[in-house]
Symmetry: C2
Subunit: 197 residues, 2 copies
């Protein structure tokens, strides 16, 4: 995704060696055309997987999750971090720790919307330590459904999430893989370009 | 929006005389094709308004907001209910009370993403008492920008939000207007059909 990498290079703000802020197109302001391209790319990558549902987590996963679901022709479900009074009934839950926010959240999905027949593609904006991703996988597994894989917009490959998911046998497709944010510079891992060259 | 009304009739769950749960296609699981149609309809309704930005609020406003922004060819910004550590800087804020959740939230938008030149369309999933809508309008006005109007997916016309916004001179376009949820039945206000008949 050269378009995405260009956006990250041009608009990303490096707050520390581990924190990249992409508020101008992904986490606060959203670029809808970029999200559409991201949706098309995830749909292409997972096109043979007979996906029946996209699962993501509020709030920043919703935009890429929705666009992927639109392209795949399936519904998207977003896990909630806090319960609303109207989201009652039987819930599938998992506990996840956010290193960014320094807090543990219970995330939940209604049992009605992930069922044993489902083949689920999990979409998220960032993959860092993998806690949210594992929590979402746990929910799918509690439902008796199948995790087809993970579609990640930005992977911080220098943190442990990517290895953690791959070591458990999950397929992980990340559209931008960042090897380092050191010295205030975004260094991408360009392995696919190398393979294709 | 007959497609939307049919969805509400078929899948909406009436929890009380004032609470309608539409978790199967809008607030938890999302129907991407319906969202695309909603986006097209808002873009059509506001096509002459020279909109430069869509503003919505996490989480359930993001899907219809994103699809509307895609159709209009502008970015969408979602107001946050809780600050993340990476969303620092100058914030525009408003306090809103949620009758559903029975709590007051500070909502905020980075000053960078709503600027005095902006002509802003505010999109939200529900209009009930109008507190979120007024909070979003307050943020736009604090930025010195212009509120072009409100695009609401489901208006509960029996609550005071709709009248409150219209009495302040705001244009409000609601795709489904519910006159009553009494006796466990959704009654739509069908004024446009009457006018067109």
């Amino acid at each position: 995704m050269d378009f995405l990498k260009k956006k990250i290079r041009d608009e990303g703000v490096i707050l520390s060696d581990s924190v990249l802020k992409v508020d101008s197109f992904l986490n606060h302001q959203i670029d809808p055309v970029l999200m559409q391209e991201i949706g098309k790319e995830f749909a292409r990558l997972f096109q043979h997987e007979k996906i029946t549902k996209v699962l993501t987590i509020e709030s920043s996963g919703i935009a890429p999750g929705l666009m992927t679901a639109l392209q795949l022709g399936v519904p998207v479900v977003f896990a909630r971090k806090r319960m609303s009074l109207t989201l009652a009934g039987d819930l599938l839950t998992a506990s996840i720790y956010s290193f960014t926010k320094q807090e543990t959240n219970e995330i939940s999905v209604s049992q009605k919307y992930v069922t044993p027949d489902d083949r689920v593609l999990i979409i998220d904006d960032f993959l860092a330590n993998g806690q949210a991703a594992l929590g979402l996988a746990e929910i799918v597994q509690k439902a008796g459904a199948t995790v087809v894989g993970f579609g990640i917009v930005i992977e911080k490959s220098f943190q442990k999430g990517s290895e953690l998911l791959r070591s458990r046998g999950f397929r992980v497709e990340s559209l931008a893989r960042i090897g380092s944010l050191e010295k205030g510079k975004v260094q991408f891992i360009e392995e696919s370009e190398v393979v294709n060259a």
